[in-house]
Symmetry: C2
Subunit: 357 residues, 2 copies
DNA sequence: CGATTCGATCGAAACGATTCGAGTCGGTCG
DNA sequence: CGACCGACTCGAATCGTTTCGATCGAATCG
C-alpha cells in the first residue's frame, strides 16, 4: 500500500520488475501502462498494484524514446544569448504561442540559445523537431545538422531554406507603411534604429556595407521597407531589442549635427528607449520628435505614450509554428507546406505628428 | 566528398552504416567518434571520411542517452505559466545564471511550466536533473515523481523537502530590513503587496487565512519579515510579478478609506506599478507615498525613480543552482549538500522618506 | 628467438522499453 | 461434440548506441 520511494533498494525500478511482481510478461505491463492493448480487469489491477507497491515511476523516457523514435521534445533554437532572447516580450509571446500551438499534453520545449557558436548542442540533444526563432543566415550549419537528422524545422521569420517550414511576417510592407506615414506628415530628415544585424555584428552606425550584410530577415526586411521611402536616411544598429539599447541609439542619432525630426525604430522597446533619450535632451515627443516602433507589444507602464507602431500577431505566429510542428510530426512524409504569412497592422498612436516649422 | 544530405535515400544513417562503409566494427566507429579509445590515424581518417561521405549526423541522441543513462538535459520546472515565468527579469536572470552554471558545453534546458497541472510531463521527458524555480508546496507530487526517478533536484527558493538541494535567499531578513527602514522613517500605516501565494490562488485582498496558506516560500518569507515589524498592515495579493499587477494592487490599497503612507511591494516590477498607480492619483513618490521593492532588477527606463529595494544576486543564485546540478550529476551517491543561503542587500534609493505631517 | 606487453580492433552484451506475430484458453456455433 | 473465434497474454525482435572483455598482431624485452 505504501508507495514510499525510500523503502526499496538503491536500484531504479524497471518495467521488468513490475512484470515480475505482477506475475505477467513485460509486454502485458507495457500494454496496461500505455492503455494500448486489451487487458482483463484483474490483470490491469494486478499490474497497477505492483507498480504502485514498487514505486515504479513509469517507463523510462530514454528507453521509450529510443524505441518509439520520438522523445516528445521540441527544440527552440535561437542565435541570441538566453538572456537576450526573452528580454523582449515579443519573443516571449511567440514562445508562449509555440507552447500553446503544441497543445496541452504536447511536446515540451528545449531551449537552445547561441545556436551559432554551439552547434554541437543541436546534434546531441534528443528532440523531434526544431523551431528557429530570431535566427539569421548564420544558422545555416545548424540547419544542415537538423536536415541530416531528418527533423522537421519550422522557421519563424527565418531565412528561406529548403525544407524549412516558413512562418513569415510582412515586415517589408509594415515598415514601409510606417515610413510612408512619416513622409505624409512631412518628415524629410528621419533616422532609423535597426535590430541587431545578426549575432555576429556589433552595435554602431549603420553603413551601406553593413546594411547589405543584415542576416536576420526581420532586420533586413524592415530596413528594406523603410528604404523604399527614405533611401538615404542615416541609421544606428541597436545592440539588442531593449530600452537601454534604444536609449543608446537615440542618443547617437539625436546628438548628430543635424538631428532627425523622426525616428523609425525596429521594435517597440527600442522606440521607448529612443523616446527616453529624446526626453532626456529636453525634446518633446511627438512635437519635437516623432517616433515609431514595431511589434505592438503592451507597453504597460513602460511609457506614458501611445506609441505609433505596427502590431504583429506574435502569439498567433508562435501558435502557427507549434501547430506546424505537430502537423509535420504527424506526417513526416508530407511535402514542406507553403509559407504562412502573417500581417502587421498599423496602430496610429500619439508619438507622430508633423515636423516643426 | 560531397556531404549533401539529399543524395542518400530516405533512411536515416546509423552508426552501423558508417562502420560498414569504413570497413570497421561498430565499436571502432564509436571509439573514433567519441575519442574515447585509442585508434590509429588511418582508421580514424577512414571512419571520419565514411561518416562525411554518408552525411552521418552523429550518434542518435536517443540511443546514446539510453545506453549512457544520461540525456544531457536539465529541466527547469516552474509552477507558473510560461508567459508569466519569464516576464520578470529576475527570473530571466536566474535562468541565465542556471545556464551559465551548467557551463558552455553542459546540459541544455528543458522548460516545464505549469508543473502542478501537468505532472505527467515531468515523468515523460528524458532529463537528468531538475531545477525548481518559482515553486510552492503544490509541486509536492511532482517532486515525488522526480524522487522515484532518482533524479537530482535543486530548489531555488523552493519549499524544504527531503533530498532537494536548496539554494535559498534570506527573504525574511531582507523584508524585515525594508520594513524597519520604513518604521524608522516614522511610517505607521503601511500597505503590503505580495507576490502570488501560489499558482492556485487568485489575486485579491490579503486575509489572515490566505496568509497562512502562502505556499511559495519567497512570498511567505517576505511576508513573515514584514509581519515582524508591521503585524497588522493590510495587504493585497498581486496576480503576478508585473507592472500591471502592481498598478492594480496599488489602486486597491490607495483607494481604501485610510490609504497607507508607505507600500512594501514584494518585487520591483510590482513596486513600479504601485508608483504608477500613486502618480495616476496625483500622489508624489516619495513625498506622499513611500514605496519599496524587492529584487534589485535594473529598472532601466521602467521608471525614473531610484527605487529603494533589497538587491538579490539573482544570476549568482541561478549559477549556484547550475553548479549544484553538475555536482550532483558527477557524484550521484553523494549526500544532499547543505542548503546555500544567498543574502540580499539593502539599496537605499529615493522612493522612501518620512511620512507627511 | 621465445615470452611479454601493449595498442588497436572487434564481438557481444547491455540500456529499458514497445510492438508484432503467435499462442492459449474459454466459450460459442454448427 | 468438434471446429472456430475472440479476448487476452506472451516471447522475441528491435530501436542505435556504448562499453566490457577478448583477440590479434606487432613490437619490446630478456
Amino acid at each position: 500500500m505504501s508507495e514510499s520511494a525510500t523503502e526499496n533498494g538503491g536500484a531504479r525500478i524497471r518495467l521488468a520488475d513490475v512484470a515480475a511482481r505482477a506475475g505477467v510478461s513485460n509486454s502485458t505491463v507495457s500494454l496496461v501502462l500505455n492503455g494500448s492493448g486489451p487487458a482483463s480487469e484483474s490483470t490491469r489491477r494486478r499490474v497497477l498494484d505492483a507498480a504502485a507497491e514498487l514505486g515504479y515511476a513509469g517507463p523510462d523516457p530514454r528507453a521509450r524514446s529510443l524505441r518509439r523514435g520520438r522523445s516528445g521534445i521540441v527544440a527552440v533554437v535561437t542565435e541570441d544569448a538566453l538572456a537576450d532572447a526573452f528580454r523582449d516580450p515579443m519573443n516571449l509571446a511567440q514562445l508562449d504561442g509555440i507552447a500553446d500551438g503544441l497543445g496541452e499534453g504536447g511536446p515540451s520545449l528545449l531551449i537552445i540559445p547561441n545556436a551559432i557558436d554551439d552547434p554541437a548542442r543541436v546534434s546531441s540533444s534528443p528532440f523531434d523537431a526544431a523551431v528557429m526563432i530570431g535566427c539569421g543566415v548564420g544558422i545555416h550549419d545548424t540547419l544542415e545538422l537538423l536536415r541530416r537528422r531528418r527533423l522537421p524545422v519550422v522557421g519563424l521569420e527565418a531565412p528561406r531554406a529548403e525544407g524549412v517550414i516558413a512562418i513569415d511576417l510582412d515586415n517589408v510592407d509594415g515598415a514601409r507603411a510606417l515610413a510612408e506615414h512619416l513622409r505624409e506628415l512631412g518628415h524629410r530628415r528621419v533616422g532609423i534604429v535597426t535590430l541587431p544585424l545578426g549575432s555576429r555584428h556589433a552595435s554602431g552606425p549603420l553603413t551601406p556595407e553593413l546594411e547589405a550584410l543584415a542576416s536576420a530577415p526581420s532586420t533586413g526586411e524592415r530596413l528594406q521597407g523603410v528604404r523604399a521611402v527614405y533611401p538615404d536616411a542615416p541609421g544606428w544598429i541597436a545592440a539588442s531589442s531593449s530600452i537601454s539599447a534604444g536609449i543608446a541609439a537615440g542618443a547617437a542619432l539625436l546628438d548628430a549635427p543635424r538631428p532627425p525630426t523622426a525616428i523609425l525604430a525596429q521594435s517597440d522597446l527600442i522606440a521607448v528607449g529612443v523616446i527616453r533619450a529624446a526626453e532626456d535632451r529636453g525634446l518633446r515627443v511627438p512635437d519635437d520628435l516623432s517616433v515609431t516602433g514595431f511589434d505592438g507589444i503592451r507597453l504597460d507602464g513602460l511609457t506614458d505614450h501611445d506609441l505609433t507602431t505596427m502590431v504583429q500577431p506574435a502569439h498567433a505566429k508562435g501558435e502557427a509554428a507549434g501547430r506546424a510542428v505537430l502537423a509535420a510530426l504527424a506526417d513526416p512524409e508530407a511535402p514542406t507546406p507553403e509559407p504562412v504569412l502573417f500581417r502587421t497592422e498599423l496602430h496610429l498612436g500619439a508619438t507622430t505628428t508633423r515636423p516643426r516649422g
